[in-house]
Symmetry: C2
Subunit: 226 residues, 2 copies
């Protein structure tokens, strides 16, 4: 498989571990991963998982904020695999809002219709530091409008949410989701190595029936340069 366009042998994980003490969006269900049976006692290891639909690296479906929006299980499987461009917005101070004016010079010559656009804010460097969970870099409504105008397929970000923390009106989510653009949140700091590059991105949510979102495995596959 090393002769194709995509270098599957160099697949890189962009996903956070699901485990005890992991950061979550404040107010979300507390995750728990407990031994349900063990080899020592029962001959087999099994785990009971409790978590929210937006725990860890995850996708948001339109149904997250749109009453009649589709669920995570209804995103067509071929849309979960696609080329992405990773934009470096880490020059924006942590906690600030990214605007269309910030995005244009980074994206205008780089993206094409149906691309996945992934925003590296640098907040992922602080994953696990509680102070940032309420003060991370986010997208303004105006940035979301710009992404809609570019007909992107999906938008990814390397922290808990694309939205300003506890925004009275979740404008970025609503604008993207109402336009059928799914959202990938809490990508790991491994994203950094791909800034300014195109990758093949595989974004695989568990298939939660009518789910508003779902924990996902997300990986990057480098593209061969000719």
């Amino acid at each position: 498989m090393s002769t194709g366009l995509y270098l599957f042998e160099k697949t890189t994980d962009l996903t956070h571990h699901l485990g005890k003490g992991m950061p979550i969006y404040p107010g979300d269900p507390s995750p728990s991963f407990e031994n349900y049976s063990t080899i020592r006692k029962d001959g087999v290891n099994l785990t009971k998982i409790i978590m929210g639909s937006h725990t860890g690296t995850h996708l948001d479906a339109p149904r997250h904020f749109i009453q009649d929006g589709i669920g995570i299980d209804r995103i067509p499987p071929d849309k979960l695999i696609g080329e992405a461009y990773v934009a470096d917005l880490s020059k924006k101070p942590i906690g600030s809002g990214i605007t269309s004016k910030d995005l244009k010079p980074e994206l205008e010559e780089k993206i094409v219709r149906d691309d996945i656009v992934v925003i590296y804010t640098g907040c992922s460097e602080h994953w696990g530091e509680a102070s940032i969970n309420r003060d991370y870099t986010y997208l303004t409504g105006d940035a979301a409008d710009y992404l809609v105008s570019k007909s992107v397929r999906a938008v990814g970000i390397d922290f808990l949410s694309v939205e300003k923390f506890k925004a009275p009106e979740p404008v970025a989510h609503k604008i993207l989701l109402a336009n059928g653009i799914f959202i990938i949140e809490s990508l790991s700091r491994a994203l950094k190595q791909f800034v300014g590059e195109r990758i093949l991105m595989i974004c695989m949510p568990i298939k939660l029936q009518d789910g508003d979102g779902a924990p996902s495995r997300v990986v990057a596959v480098p593209i061969r340069e000719d």
Copy 2:
């Protein structure tokens, strides 16, 4: 992306829905997917998920049955994407054990080292019928030994387990997992369309820290025939 070796635009889901009333392996944690908040009441849809690590379509890691085996998070990401051969064993009566003698004529000229081998038993046609949950087609230890001898990467099957129901000794699991061969269980009936064919298989478990297994999204990508 339609010009490559793999036809991503024809990606087919092999994953069961996670939802109310779904079949589980008898004795596993009861899954539950409840509204944690709703747009109507709270302005946002969020779900609280409770499930086992082997609920729905999932992967088994060595740690499932091997005390010092690796967890699901330590399977290298590039091993989760690979070419698979789908073998038709549906001629075996439901509830019987598949032996090396059954596998050899189906696989001998078809597979190469590091392939994913996927067994279509036909049991997936009966997903949701309670009577079959304790009487499905399985792999014998001798079949597992044969697959080890062929140095396969992973073994998939279209029902709850590769193991005879409540086998006193889980030989198939132990032989495969002790040899670092991960297992893909509860693939959906969508598998049937690929019997006798090679596909690119993308098997993406959620990244459960030290997990014995994990619910997964699994898809098939057709390979272009030249």
